[in-house]
């Protein structure tokens, strides 16, 4: 092409980034990598090697080790050995290592960027300007947390050995998101990079060597899903952190259910991108480009569902198409390319299949006229219109550069469409009106909301999802908590395994045989279920006997079944207006509840004494009054924060209620434990279905009188007595329940966690350990409130 010709056509020519240094690095390693275990490169025990290729050319870049259970075991052992010495270092010493990582990443930024682009297929602009700078930022930020660990997280210690499994879409960035907080908190790590993109993780292993990181603190085991499975299954791993598909997330939840492994999941999404008619449409179009055509759309938080207000729908679509024509798809190492290659053939195939299916279902597919490179894995930017919420392409994550669009008329309709998804990772809202933008942001079910922007990330701002997009946050203070546990917890005694107090066979006959002994109890006392603010007879039509400590019968409790739970969840779900009540209003109700309990203390204590003894009953009721006051106090004080990421922006980290809670209560302190669990949930605006302990379910009779006299709206707390094991399973399986707290024996914890995978609800259990419900240090406060809320980060860039 002569200069004169180009002068006429004014085309962009090729502008390839030089890959020489990265290739040299590969050659230095003979293009073959073992696992990085205990500061050493180790050959796989038995698994052999597999190839990793450049998706833009198909050329093999290197072969890497296929990890199996033996390799994982070696890595976990190395991490376990390293744990003590690593924790014995001062926080400052650990901060020094994280700082060195940040510096190393900066010093070798271009080599890492090129390597990432070659292995993953993402454009060099993105790896150079977005991925790698964010990696460095993450290590800097967490060098800070490491330094401040003891001041900022007193009473907490590291989980221990952490197993981390990361995806292929942001290989080194996801590594940083995982490793930085883990090390800052004092854990040691076994990390498995994705099979398609192991190279930058291996380059990072070298960085660990270069900075003299103690052996075993970071271990990298490469391999495919089987390697990940082995890591998840390893008994000596204390926590699993996973980013990837919702499907695999479910499997991991299930696989770890019977263990005390802490778990955080960052999963899929189908994030809405909402454009109002008063938005800057041209900027919104660029937002879409940064949303769905970032990283070839292979982004869990990609704005893949475009919702546009009717009045500007046509204009927006026209602008979008015009913009799509100027997107350049091509060699990822080309510095003037917008869209690079798709990571692997199977992903490309999936995109094609889903788009074809969408078109068959009636979608209109539009793609720009620009051509794709002949060689390599590419998919053009794609716009699907004429789709509906019922379309598969609207509900399912395509994980490619494919945008689906729908229109809406009103703000409420926009919110309804946006929330009509099983996911809840992120959302974008475009409007020039702060009223519209913040109103919508507050109503979206998503862990991150970007106002007039999209795909902003920062180490200081937690990232993570609602609903089936996972749980736990990465980044910021909340991200640190994922790698910490209260120090007292691991020393807490294990509860004995209990069989149900009410067994299937016994309850009826015993109920019959005990009739005589009720005769001397005065008037029959009737305790019913409490659902939607009303007393309700159990659906089963059965009751079960409740006994005093000395074995004498003291009354009968309704025997709840799955239908009672169904009704209670319905009531709790309908009562979610409670979340919109002001914090002051909730505080007032709780204070009043404290007052009323205080009035009725003697009577409640007297009844309770028959089961737990006089002394404990006195103590339970008096502490209960205090506890109610504590949460009345907390209701308007457990507040969010404002982050200041490095741009002109405020990020509002809102503590939002999670939704409908199932709370299954332990027997140790029938009244106090129940209140200790229910109160933080409702103080934060959740609604609750509570299963009291089988030991003293009659407490619900006292409680609903208390609630009724304290102006607590109906449905905010629902009480269903019955068999804990049965009812907790129904709650854990219920897709309209957003979180389950289970406190009881270890088997029960496992059961609840395993049953929670349907909608991947958040679970919190005592892992079979005994809480001291009388000790406020253990039984009330921030830890409970953290579990009762989820953080929504609302990014609000500003500037006129």
């Amino acid at each position: 092409m002569s200069i004169l010709e180009t002068y006429e056509t004014m085309e962009y020519g090729p502008a390839l980034e030089d890959a020489k240094e990265s290739l040299r690095w590969l050659e230095q390693h003979g293009r073959k990598f073992g696992h990085f275990i205990g500061d050493d490169w180790r050959q796989p025990v038995a698994g052999g090697f597999f190839e990793t290729a450049d998706p833009s050319t198909g050329e093999v870049l290197a072969t890497v080790a296929q990890g199996d259970a033996a390799d994982v075991d070696a890595a976990v052992q190395a991490a376990r050995q390293a744990l003590g010495p690593w924790q014995a270092l001062t926080p400052h010493a650990r901060a020094g290592f994280l700082y060195a990582m940040a510096r190393q990443v900066q010093k070798h930024s271009r080599r890492l960027a090129v390597l990432e682009t070659m292995d993953n297929g993402k454009s060099i602009r993105e790896s150079r300007d977005i991925d790698i700078p964010l990696v460095a930022r993450h290590f800097y930020h967490h060098a800070g947390w490491a330094q401040l660990l003891e001041q900022e997280f007193p009473g907490y210690s590291a989980c221990g050995v952490v197993g981390q499994i990361i995806p292929w879409n942001f290989p080194l960035l996801m590594l940083a998101w995982k490793i930085a907080p883990a090390l800052a908190a004092g854990n040691t790590v076994v990390l498995k990079p994705a099979e398609y993109t192991p190279l930058t993780a291996l380059a990072f292993a070298e960085i660990c060597q270069a900075i003299g990181l103690p052996a075993g603190v970071v271990n990298i085991v490469t391999g495919d899903g089987r390697t990940g499975e082995a890591l998840v299954a390893h008994p000596d791993v204390d926590k699993i952190a996973f980013t990837g598909s919702t499907e695999v997330g479910r499997a991991i939840r299930k696989a770890t259910a019977s263990t005390a492994k802490k778990l955080s999941l960052e999963l899929g999404g189908k994030s809405p991108f909402i454009v109002f008619d008063d938005a800057d449409l041209d900027s919104a179009v660029e937002g879409v480009v940064d949303g769905i055509w970032f990283n070839q759309g292979q982004v869990c938080c990609a704005g893949s569902r475009l919702l546009v207000q009717e009045r500007v729908y046509e204009t927006m679509i026209a602008k979008l198409r015009a913009r799509m024509e100027t997107l350049r798809v091509g060699a990822p190492l080309d510095k003037a390319v917008d869209i690079g290659a798709i990571v692997a053939p199977v992903q490309l195939e999936r995109m094609r299949r889903m788009v074809d299916q969408g078109v068959q279902d009636g979608a209109v597919c539009w793609q720009p006229t620009s051509s794709l490179p002949e060689r390599g894995l590419y998919f053009p930017p794609t716009l699907l219109t004429n789709v509906h919420p019922s379309s598969m392409v609207v509900q399912e994550e395509i994980f490619g550069p494919v945008l689906v669009t729908m229109s809406f008329r009103t703000l409420s309709e926009a919110v309804e469409l946006a929330n009509n998804t099983a996911y809840g990772l992120a959302a974008s809202v475009w409007s020039e009106s702060i009223n519209v933008a913040l109103d919508v942001a507050s109503r979206l079910k998503a862990g991150v909301v970007w106002v007039n922007g999209t795909n902003f990330f920062d180490a200081a701002c937690g990232f993570g999802g609602y609903r089936e997009s996972g749980f736990g946050r990465e980044g910021g203070r909340e991200g640190m908590y994922e790698y910490l546990a209260p120090k007292w917890f691991e020393k807490a005694p294990m509860l004995a395994s209990v069989t149900d107090a009410v067994t299937e066979e016994s309850h009826m006959e015993e109920a019959e045989s005990s009739v005589a002994s009720f005769a001397d109890m005065g008037l029959d006392r009737t305790v019913k279920q409490y659902i939607g603010g009303k007393q309700a007879r159990p659906d089963s039509g059965y009751s079960f006997p409740v006994y005093a400590a000395d074995g004498s019968p003291i009354g009968e409790a309704p025997l709840g079944n799955r239908k009672d739970i169904r009704n209670a969840v319905e009531a709790a779900s309908n009562a979610q207006g409670w979340a919109k009540a002001t914090a002051h209003n909730r505080a007032q109700v709780l204070f009043y509840m404290g007052e009323n309990l205080s009035q009725r203390r003697k009577e409640i204590s007297h009844a309770l004494a028959r089961v737990v003894g006089h002394e404990q009953a006195e103590k339970e009721t008096s502490v209960a009054v205090e506890r109610i006051f504590s949460y009345a106090a907390w209701a308007d004080k457990f507040e969010g924060s404002v982050h200041t990421p490095p741009m002109r922006n405020v990020t509002l980290a809102m503590q939002e209620p999670i939704g409908v809670f199932g709370v299954v209560c332990p027997p140790e302190a029938p009244l106090l434990a129940l209140l200790s669990l229910v109160l933080p949930a409702i103080a934060m605006g959740n609604t609750v279905v509570t299963v009291p302990s089988e030991k003293y379910p009659l407490v619900i009779g006292d409680l609903y009188q208390l609630f009724d006299t304290s102006d607590l709206p109906g449905g905010v707390v629902n009480l269903v007595a019955g068999r804990s094991a049965e009812l907790s399973k129904v709650l854990a399986e219920h897709d309209n329940v957003d979180a389950v707290w289970y406190f009881g024996d270890a088997e029960g914890s496992a059961r609840v966690k395993a049953a929670s995978i349907g909608n991947l609800k958040q679970t919190w259990t005592n892992e079979g350990r005994a809480f001291d419900w009388f000790d406020p240090h253990q039984a009330e406060g921030r830890m409970f409130l953290c579990h009762a809320t989820q953080v929504k980060n609302i990014w609000v860039p500003y500037g006129e």
Binding site: S2, Y7, M10, G13, D280, D282, T385, H388, S407, R648
Partner: protein, 344 residues
């Protein structure tokens, strides 16, 4: 109306979409601007989200680059689109003649030869001077097609009486200026007096006659990007052939975010009227790198036609020297020095 019918309607009405694609893609020149009646809806509809626009401006230039012969070609394109400018209080006739000589021959002959672009007959887009030197420049450029642009209408503040400003235009046109760079009354924009702005620009246009009118918005004085967008739209409706960022005398001159807002306004106007308006970035553009950034912006936001001098200009003086240095580097592989390039 249900969402479905809205969408269907969208597909049936391709007209606007096609127009927009044409602007960007097919390289044909849309019709020159004849202006339209003042349509306040178009003004009200303008939104400009500053943060988002700054982000786009920031990343636009990291998304594009040109290397080797492509870079050389693009640099030549920047030369062709340059209004070689001198607007200093101490300007002299000799300096203007020097400028005109440079305008005729922006690159030294050896460079032209090495680049093999003799047949291009490369000149700059125009020479831009104060009225006082318009005649000098016209004479110095005789025998070329290079137009003389005169800044006018009380440049740079635009605060002299309207009659004076109109008379200025007449005088410059009489002096042979084929392009007139007018300044607007900033107060009209800051006060939202769109009718007044429209009338002012329309009056200028009238006075220009067949001369090409570039409307300087003095964006550095307009305070907000939304004001920039709205002023752009009104100026175009009032018949601007070009809209231009700055006089070069404001504290902030041509910036990419401002350019983005103005080019988007042009796109929107062209889409709605089928008429094209040119864009001129003036002030603060000093390097070859900046020149490339502006060309990327024009190509990606407006398309190929806006890389012609008929629709795009730089107002610059020192930039040409830097471009020459870069071209020399392309030819020799050695970095060049300013003093090696003939002075403008």
């Amino acid at each position: 109306m249900t969402p479905e019918t809205i969408q269907e309607r969208g597909f049936k009405r391709h007209l606007g979409q096609q127009a927009e694609q044409n602007i960007r893609q097919d390289g044909t020149q849309p019709a020159p601007n004849r202006g339209t009646p003042l349509t306040l809806d178009w003004v009200d509809d303008i939104r400009a989200n500053t943060s988002a626009i700054e982000r786009r401006a920031q990343t636009l230039v990291t998304r594009r680059t040109v290397k080797k012969e492509w870079q050389a070609a693009w640099l030549l394109r920047a030369v062709a689109c340059t209004d070689l400018t001198t607007l200093a209080g101490d300007d002299t006739a000799e300096r203007v003649r020097r400028l005109c000589a440079k305008a005729r021959q922006p690159l030294k002959p050896s460079l032209v030869e090495h680049l093999k672009i003799q047949e291009l007959g490369l000149t700059v887009g125009a020479v831009c001077v104060y009225h006082a030197f318009a005649e000098t420049a016209v004479r110095a450029l005789e025998g070329t097609k290079i137009p003389v642009a005169a800044v006018s209408t009380g440049f740079p503040a635009g605060l002299s009486p309207l009659a004076e400003r109109v008379a200025e235009i007449h005088r410059s046109v009489e002096a042979g200026a084929r392009e007139i760079d007018v300044v607007i009354t900033r107060a009209h924009v800051l006060g939202g007096e769109w009718q007044a702005l429209y009338d002012e620009v329309a009056t200028f246009k009238d006075a220009c006659g067949s001369a090409h009118m570039k409307v300087i918005l003095a964006t550095g004085d307009l305070m907000t990007l939304r004001n920039v967008g709205r002023a752009s739209m009104v100026a175009m409706m009032a018949g601007a052939d070009f809209i231009k960022t700055s006089t070069g005398k404001e504290t902030v001159n041509a910036t990419l975010p401002v350019g983005l807002v103005m080019t988007r306004a042009i796109r929107s106007y062209t889409q709605q009227t089928g008429m094209a308006v040119g864009f001129k970035a003036a002030g603060g553009v000093r390097t070859a790198k900046q020149a490339m950034e502006w060309l990327f912006l024009m190509k990606d936001e407006l398309g190929r036609p806006w890389l012609e001098p008929s629709l795009f200009r730089f107002g610059a003086s020192g930039m040409l020297t830097d471009i020459e240095r870069q071209l020399e580097h392309y030819v020799t592989g050695r970095y060049s020095a300013n003093y090696r390039q003939p002075l403008a």
